[in-house]
Symmetry: C2
Subunit: 421 residues, 2 copies
Amino acid sequence: METARNNLRVDGARLWSTLMETAAFGATPAGGINRLTLSPADGRVRDWFRAACEAAGLTVGTDSLGTQFALRPGRDSTRPPVATGSHLDTQPTGGRFDGILGTLAGLEVVRTLNDAGIETEAPILLVNWTNEEGSRYAPATMASAAHVGTFTAEDILARTDADGVSVGQALASLGIVATEPTGSRAIGAFVELHIEQGPILEAEAKTVGVVEGGQGILWFDGTITGFESHAGTTPMPRRRDAVLGLAELALAVERIALAHGPSAVGTLGEAVIGAPSRNVVPGRVRFTLDIRDPRAATLDAIEADVRAALADIAARRQLTATLDLVWRQEPVPFDPALVALVEREAEALGLAHRRMVSGASHDACNLALKVPTAMIFVPCKDGISHNEAESATPSDCTAGADVLLQTLLTLANRPALPLRD
Amino acid sequence: METARNNLRVDGARLWSTLMETAAFGATPAGGINRLTLSPADGRVRDWFRAACEAAGLTVGTDSLGTQFALRPGRDSTRPPVATGSHLDTQPTGGRFDGILGTLAGLEVVRTLNDAGIETEAPILLVNWTNEEGSRYAPATMASAAHVGTFTAEDILARTDADGVSVGQALASLGIVATEPTGSRAIGAFVELHIEQGPILEAEAKTVGVVEGGQGILWFDGTITGFESHAGTTPMPRRRDAVLGLAELALAVERIALAHGPSAVGTLGEAVIGAPSRNVVPGRVRFTLDIRDPRAATLDAIEADVRAALADIAARRQLTATLDLVWRQEPVPFDPALVALVEREAEALGLAHRRMVSGASHDACNLALKVPTAMIFVPCKDGISHNEAESATPSDCTAGADVLLQTLLTLANRPALPLRD
């Protein structure tokens, strides 16, 4: 049995054709997918997913936020299921892999187990989380967040999209009927396969990213105010130019992130000049900062350094500045034993791998607050994601699904929880 | 006679009350003026100006672009008039001095000469140029440019505002009827009084700026293109961040202008990030540059330095960049003898003065292409202009008008042109 298990591999061609089959739901001319959560196209892929799961012998339930739970029984029905999955919704100009790979690779794992006639000790649960993307409804990963109790289902159901349609109304319009309350589904552990959405694995020619956790995130809104004056009549030394203050800040954020590296990142992603004119020295600018690091203490240190840099810039240039923290997400470490298990399975499969941190947020980051959780990353071309050009190779998708298969098998056949040992 | 002339002073209180009287045409609640060219408010101030000139004994003509010419005869009607004036139109949220001071100070000079019973050798001509501001119709200073032949009147008459109303239609709607073709009015020399619109005189506690000419101007449109990527998943060293390129460019422009100083200025006044998002590394940015210096060779040198800096930034950061020159205005030197005359008159009046260059463009910069021209600047509070907060003191306005009076008297009583001697 152990030998058979170790030689077990997913059917890569079937996984790929399933990925391409579902890419038709919401397909865009440019080869991407427009499948906003709870849109008609999302309704069609949900129907397809339910039918495919039922065809694979799974029992499908739906919670009050529309999340689909497909259960494959184990020998011991008293054990909490070992869960996997991701999401089938996309950005408005999304790609064919973000979320979809993790969900359909879970289906492929079930199909592979079925083909091999393998029964696991613990049940296996395949999940399609509602609205991971956050494009139509805020926040992103809302259903998994509600599952672990960060929000109530009632709160989330009342959230509205840009047209004023609530989550509850959108669920009803697709005929989605809850069969269980949000948060009631038992989950013993969670493993999510996902494309990296970054360039590291490709650049280092690694096939598997062993994800140690999700980064912490700081979001800031800021302003810099100087004095608007005539671009022709104001001598350089007398200017109080808000854009020059912003320029120094942007470069300071880069320096500070590099100094706290290699995992620290800092981005000045938005900047808007107040009353811009080509012949006026800019007097006001608004901006945002996004700062991430897997270590909470490093986030604190970066924030202190950025605030000190901004104060220095403002003092030297006779500017005033504000910097308001509008969101702080604490770093989410994944379960060390489960991370180590993913690493061992990748190694046993002979796949080039490295440990890394997830720069983006995922449903797994919510699950990690409650149950042992890990993630498996595979490369995506040029690190591009949230884009119709998002691309991953069949062999990398297959490799990721094989790591998922082996990890789920090991977890589901372990004698007992707790996993931490 | 010479003694009487030297003791002659304008009536500062009358000048100030005239300024405040006309400020009612288009007055804004914040204490400024909204008097776009050829608007109903501009029509009312034009009617007031004609009546005031006629009451002062002047003969008022109007050219085909609506510019008002008010002539005070001299003893020798064969001599071309010595001209002064400025404009009565304002920015939509303009102040009470920009252009208005120079026009009404010319009226005050005439009234002063009338009161003293002084007849000059050459005639004196007071001009209210149409559309100096350029807010409603482009280009700015269009009427004085057409006067010297830079544009034809037909071209200018066909220009339209944002509502599609042409200059010709706007003139007709105010009932303005031309009595002479544009460019036909004889002018022997032109002296314009204006607020500085910059902070230098105030900072140095000077009352009079002796303007040596108008700066040359370079306007550039540029782009910087990198690669949009995820703010959470893209390591700092792998980024191609367009905003960081822009930040380096903005600081380089400042450094380069300072290196070519003290009169060189460079401004990055507009910058727009393409598809901005707080969690996306910016991939594209558009920007404008405004560079000015009174020396053509310095403009060339600054342009070369900026292009070299941008090329270096792009190469280091793996960005591509464009920088297109969209406008070059050559520096406009004023007549050296006339500049020296203004300086002598300021000195004789015991006023603190300094030579300077006009950072902004003025009707005088067009006149200088054809006739001996000079300008007189007086301080404005905090260098603020094109703003309802624009402010100048009664005593500085009076001092500027006194310099104008003395300069015009000397010019009009000189034995003969040419002025250059």
